[in-house]
Amino acid sequence: MRMSKSFRSRSRWARPASGAVLGLVLSVAAAAASPARAGEPAEPPAAGPAPAPAPAADGAAAAAAAPTADGAGGEERDKAARDAELRLKVMEAARRTFVRVVITPRWDEDCLLESLTRSDYSGRGAWDQAGRVAASRLDSLMQHETARQAITVPGVLVGRGLAVIEDDGTGWEWKLVGKVEIVDASGRRWPAKVARLLTRASAYVFETEGAEPPAPPAWRSDFKLGAGERVLSASLLADPADPNRWFVSCAGALLPFDSSPASADRLTFAGRSQGESGSGASPGVFFDAGGRPACVALQSVRLDNDAPAAWRPAEMLESGSVAWADVEKVQARVSAETRRVSYKVRFEFRVDKDDEEEPGGMAARFHPRGLYGGDSGPQDAEAFGVSIGGGRIFIPRMLDGQSVRMLEKVAVKVGDEWRPAVFAGAFRGLVGMLVEVPGARLEELSGFLDTKGVPAMTPFVYCQAEELLGEVRAEARTVRYLAMHRGHGDRLRPNAHWVPPGALLFDLKGSLAGMAVSERAEPTLFQLAGSNGLGGYGDGEMTLSGFSAHRELFSDPTRAFEPSWRPMTRQEQRRLCWLGVEFEPVAEELAERLGCSRETRGGQVGLIVSTVYPGSPAEKLGIRAQDILLRLGVDGLGEPVPLMARYAGATDAWGRSAMLGRMGAMAGMGGMGRTWKPRANFLTRLLTEAGPGRKAHVTFLASADRKVKTGSFEVGWAPEDYDSAERLKDEKLGLAVKPITYEVRTALGLKPEDPGVIVSWVEQGSSAQVARLAPFTLVLGVDGRPAGSTAEFAKAVEDARKQKKDSVRLQVSVMGKCRFADLKLGE
C-alpha cells in the first residue's frame, strides 16, 4: 500500500534506512534520561534522551551474518542458529504485540473545497504549510474516494484494549478521520477511538470499544534499560509495493504479520518498488532474549540525532496524558481566542500610471509584489494580523521593500467595517510589519505564559486566522515542543518547522504561550548584490517565540524598524544613492589588453567607468573614465563585494537606435531618441539598499598610473535624475516637461549653467504636437524668458494665460538646432 503519508500533514515516519525493508537497530536510551523507574514520572531530560551504548553488536552481527554464512567454525554456526531461533521467537511475539490501526477517512466537503481553493494561494517557503496541509487532505480524500483505501498505521498493544501510535508531531488530520479499527495479527477487528494524547511521550492512545478488547502481551515490567541486557528490536512494516501486506521485521528478517487465512491467498510478485516509503518502522518494540516485549521505542520526534525514546508501557501511560476530548475542547477555545484577536488587514498600493505614457520610459517599473512574491502582484493584498495592544496589529508576513514603498492605504477590518490604519513600520530583525489603527478599540492578546522549564515532547496548540470559503477560520493543531533553542534564550523549537509565521501558540490549558515569528538576519552586501539589490530578503529561520522574547520589541517598535521600508511617494521611491559613474562590464580580452588581467581576475571582475558625473563622490575620489571599479564594501554590511562584470547587465542598446534611426530624418523636427541610461543600475541600487549615511569603500584600478586604489565616501542621495524627477504636465498644452537632470546634461553635453527643461511627453493632437515638439526636445525659453526649471516654465505659461494671450512662444532646441514654436494656450 502506498502509505498515505499524505494523510498526515507531514509524515515523519522514520523510514527504513535504505528503502529496502530492514530491521532497525536501535540504541537504548541511557538510564539517566529514561523513565526507567516504575511509578515515578520521568525527569524532564535536559536535552532529550541521551544515547546509551547500544547492544547493537548483536543485531549488527545477526544482520550481517548472511544466512549463507560459511562454516567458519561449528561454534559460529551454532551461534547463528541460536540467533535465528531467537529472531523467530521475537517475531512471533511481535505478532502478538503489534496491531494495525486502520483508519478510514471520511468524506468532508469542506476539506475538499478548502484544498481546492487553496491552490490559488501560491505561497512559498515556510508559508507553504497551508498549501501542504491542503494538498495532503486532498490526497487522502481522493485516495479514499478512488481507491477506497483506508490508512493503516502500526500500533503497539500496551494495555487491555489500548494501543499506542506515534505522534510524529504533525498532528493527525483528525478532521478526516472517520472510522477507526484495530486489527490484530489474526485478523480480528475491534472498533476504536482516540482516547488520550500523551504529554511526555510523543504518542496517542487508542481505545477499543465494545466487549472483549484485545489482550496485550505480557510486558516485562522489571526490565531495566541500560543494564546491559540483550535486546532485539522489531517493528511492523508494510510492503511498499502492496499496502495490504504487512510484516514484522527483526534484525533484517521478515515474517508476515497477517496470519489469517485470507492473507495466505495473496499472490506476491517480484519487483518491489523501492524508494516509495514503506510504512514507518515506528513505533518499535524491544524484546528481551526470552522473546518477551520489554519497551516501546518512539523515534519520530527527536532532537537532532538523539536516540529514540524508549518507554516501558506502564510508565508511558502514566507519564502524563490528556483526554483527547479535552484536547478538542482546548482547540476550540484556542480557535475562538485566535479569531478574537486576529484582524484582517488590507494593503492598497499605488499605481504609477505615468510610466506607461512616457516614451523611452526606461524607469524601473515598480510593481507591488504582494505578500506571496511574484512579479506583478495584485494592486492590493490582504493578510491577517494579531492585535498586540495599544491599537497595534502585528502582521507576521512581509511585503518586500519595493511594495512597502508603494503602499498607499492600509485598512483594518474591525467588526464589519473597514477602518483606516497607518503603516507603522517593518521590522528589521523579524519578518513582520506593524500597523496602527488610530482610535479603535481592539481586542488584545492576554495572559502570557512563561515558557521556561517546559519538558520535552510537551504538546502545544498553534492556531492562525485566515479567510477561506467566505469565512474567517482559525484551525488549531497540535505540535510537540522539543527544546529551547540553544543560545537563543526564550525561543522554542518545535519539531516541525511548518508552523506558519504568526501562528499563536497555546498550551494545553489554553493559555497563550507565544507566537511563531521568522527571524531575519540583516543582509550582507553580498546578499543584496545577489538579489540584484532589489531588497528581497530570504525567509529567516522560523522560531516559535515565547512572547516575552518580543515583548520589548513590541513595546518600542520604532527602534526596531527598517528605516527605508516605509510608504513613499513616487518621487521618493525613485531616489537613488550614487557613486556617480556610468560603467560597462570588463571583458577578458579587454582586461588582457589593458594589462589588468590579474586585478580583474581574467575579466570576471570589474566595471569600466565610461562617465564620471560632476560633483559626485566618484569625482571627489579621483575616479576617471576608463578606471575600473573592482570592489565595493559598506561598513556594517559584512564583507566587501567584488563588482562582477555580470552585474553590469545588458548595456549595449543605449543610444544606438536613438541616434542612427533618426539621423537622416527630422533634424530640427524633434525626434531625438533617449541616449542616456536609467540611473537605476546595479551599483546605485546596491548603494540605495545599503542606505544613506553609511560609510562605503570602493576599490578601483586607476587607468592613469595602473595602481589599485581605495577611496571612502559616505553613501548619499544622488541629485534627481530623469526618471525620478517630478514632471510638470500641462494638459491644455499637451506636454510634460522635466528638469534637465545631471545625467541628461552630461549626455547632451550641456553646461551646468545652460537653462532649459526637457520635454518628456507630448500628447497626440495637442498644440504641442502641432508645433512639432517631441519628447527629449529642450525648451530653452518661454516668451523670451529663460526656462531654467519646470517652475519657471510653469510660471511663464501661467503669466501668458493671465494676460489672456493666445499662445506662448517657446524657444526649443534639438541637438543644438534652435527654433521657435508657438503653442496655443488652452481651449
Binding site: W654, A658, M659, G668, K677, M815, K817, C818, R819, F820
Partner: protein
C-alpha cells in the same frame, strides 16, 4: 535601383500639401488661340525631347552595408550640349565607380562626372563620345517661373528601367518647399502628378511646348505625387557645375525660421525680414554677434525677407552666395532695436564625409559632417563614425554597431590617438595591416549614445577570404 523614393510620410509633407494652394485659374492668355489637342502636344514634346533622353546606368560604390559594395543603379537624364554634356540627379550619379549611358536605345557610351551638388540634387555628366561622333540632340530649357498649376507636363525617363517612357500629368504646385530635413534647403520644387517612379530620376519634366521645365527627382510614394527641380534653378546650378565642378556656398551657422510657419503653427508679426531662430555655436554668425531670436532685415544693405517657408530657399541662396572670408554687414532687429553686425562667412565644406572600407575589420566608416549627420556632429565636430557593420564580420563580433563614433584607436606605434578624420583612420588602418608581426587585435574606444567605452577589435579571422 533608384530614383530616390523618398517616403516623405509624415504629416509635414501632407501639411505642406494641404497648405499649398489648389491649382490657380489659368490666365487664359497662354492657351488661347492654340490647339489643345493632346496628340499634337505629345508629338511635339516627343519630337523635341525624346532624342535627347538618356538612360543612365552607374555602378555605384556603396558603403552602408559594412563593406564596399558595388551596385548597378539606373536613372535618367537629358543631353544639354551637342558635345555630350547631360544632366541627371546627384543621387543617381553620386559615388559612381563608372557610368554608362544609353542614347536613344541605340548607342551606349561611358560618361564621366563633371560636377555634383547634393543640396539641389543635380549632377552634370559628360558623355565620352568616340571621335567623329555626330553632334548629339539637345533639350531646350523653358522658363520654370512661368509655369502654372494645371499646366500639362510630361515626365520622361526610365521608370523601373523601362527606358524612354513618357508619363503625363499636370503641374500640381509650382513653389513646393521640402527642405524640412537635411537637404533641399536651397530650392523650391515643381510638384506634378505625372508618374515619377524609381528610374525616372534625372529625367526631364517637359511642358506642352516641348521645353524642359523641370528635372524629375522625387516621388513621394503616394500616387500622383512627384517633384521636379525647376529648370531655372537647374540651369544656374548646372552652369556653376560646369565651371567649377561644385557649387560653392558660404556657411554662416544660422537656422532660419519664416515669419509665418504653418508647419509648426508659429507666427510672428510683420512681413519684413527673416528670423534667425537658432545660431550655431561656434559659427560665423555667433562670432559676428547674431543671437537666437534676432530678426535679420538686410544683408549688405539689401533687404532679406522670408515670410513663408517657401521664401526660405531664396534667402538661403542669397546668404550662400556671400563670398567666404569677406565680412558682410547684417542689419538685425533685436528687442526693438536695430543693429548692424559684421559676419564673415566661411566655406560650407563637403556635404557629407568621406567613406572608407576597413576590409579586414568588416566595417565601413565615414566622416561626420554637419549636414549629413547633424546628430553625430552635435557630439563630435571632427570625427569618424561607423557607417556600416558587415554581418558576419570582425566588427560585428567585437560588438561595434553602426552609428558608433570612433573616438580613439591604437596608432600602431605603441600609443593611442584621437581619431579626427577618415584620412587619419585610414593611415592607421594601413599601418596596422602592413605590420605582419603585430598581434591582430586593436584597442579602440567608441562613443555610443552618451557613453564612451573601450573595445577590443579582434581581426584574426579573415571573413572575406572565407566567404569566397
Amino acid at each position: 535601383m533608384t530614383s530616390r523614393l523618398h517616403l516623405l510620410a509624415g504629416t509635414s509633407l501632407l501639411l505642406a500639401a494641404a497648405a499649398g494652394c489648389g491649382p490657380t485659374a489659368t490666365s487664359g492668355g497662354k492657351w488661347s488661340g492654340r490647339s489643345a489637342d493632346f496628340r499634337q502636344i505629345i508629338e511635339r514634346a516627343k519630337g523635341r525631347v525624346y532624342p535627347a533622353i538618356v538612360f543612365v546606368k552607374p555602378i555605384r560604390e556603396e558603403f552602408s552595408g559594412g563593406e564596399k559594395q558595388k551596385m548597378e543603379v539606373f536613372g535618367s537624364g537629358a543631353i544639354i550640349s551637342t558635345d555630350g554634356l547631360m544632366f541627371t540627379n546627384a543621387h543617381v550619379a553620386e559615388k559612381a565607380a563608372s557610368i554608362r549611358v544609353v542614347l536613344g536605345d541605340k548607342e551606349q557610351y561611358p560618361a564621366n562626372l563633371v560636377g555634383l551638388d547634393k543640396e539641389t540634387d543635380l549632377a552634370l555628366l559628360r558623355i565620352e563620345l568616340p571621335a567623329g561622333h555626330p553632334p548629339l540632340p539637345v533639350v531646350e530649357f523653358g522658363d520654370s517661373s512661368r509655369v502654372s498649376e494645371g499646366e500639362f507636363v510630361m515626365a520622361m525617363g526610365s521608370p523601373f528601367g523601362f527606358t524612354r517612357s513618357i508619363s503625363f500629368g499636370v503641374i500640381s504646385n509650382t513653389r513646393r518647399y521640402i527642405g524640412f530635413r537635411g537637404q533641399y534647403k536651397y530650392n523650391l520644387w515643381l510638384q506634378t502628378d505625372a508618374a515619377i517612379n524609381p528610374g525616372n530620376s534625372g529625367g526631364p519634366l517637359v511642358d506642352s511646348e516641348g521645353r524642359v521645365v523641370g528635372i524629375n527627382t522625387l516621388g513621394a510614394g503616394g500616387e500622383g505625387l512627384g517633384f521636379a527641380i525647376p529648370s531655372n534653378t537647374a540651369r544656374a546650378v548646372l552652369e556653376t557645375l560646369r565651371e567649377k565642378g561644385s557649387v560653392p556656398r558660404a556657411w554662416l551657422g544660422l537656422d532660419l525660421q519664416p515669419l509665418k510657419d504653418f508647419s509648426q503653427n508659429t507666427f510672428f508679426d510683420g512681413d519684413r525680414g527673416v528670423l534667425a531662430a537658432g545660431v550655431e555655436d561656434p559659427s560665423p554668425a555667433r562670432e559676428g554677434g547674431i543671437q537666437n531670436g534676432d530678426l535679420i532685415l538686410a544683408v549688405n544693405g539689401r533687404p532679406l525677407d522670408a515670410v513663408y517657408v517657401e521664401d526660405l530657399p531664396a534667402v538661403r541662396c542669397r546668404l550662400a552666395e556671400l563670398p567666404a572670408g569677406a565680412p558682410a554687414e547684417f542689419t538685425v532687429r533685436r528687442k526693438g532695436q536695430e543693429l548692424k553686425l559684421a559676419v564673415t562667412p566661411v566655406d560650407t565644406g563637403e556635404f557629407e564625409g568621406e567613406d572608407f572600407d576597413c576590409k579586414r575589420w568588416n566595417m565601413t566608416v565615414k566622416g561626420i559632417s554637419r549636414y549629413a549627420t547633424p546628430q553625430l556632429y552635435y557630439f563630435r565636430k571632427q570625427g569618424v563614425y561607423v557607417q556600416g557593420v558587415r554581418w558576419p564580420g570582425n566588427a560585428q563580433d567585437a560588438g561595434i554597431q553602426a552609428g558608433d563614433i570612433i573616438m580613439s584607436i591604437e596608432d600602431g606605434k605603441g600609443g593611442t590617438v584621437e581619431v579626427a578624420s577618415v584620412r587619419q583612420l585610414r593611415e592607421i588602418y594601413e599601418r596596422l595591416m602592413a605590420d605582419p608581426k603585430r598581434e591582430k587585435k586593436v584597442l579602440l574606444s567608441i562613443k555610443r549614445g552618451a557613453y564612451v567605452r573601450p573595445l577590443i577589435l579582434d581581426y584574426r579571422r579573415d571573413y572575406k577570404e572565407e566567404s569566397r
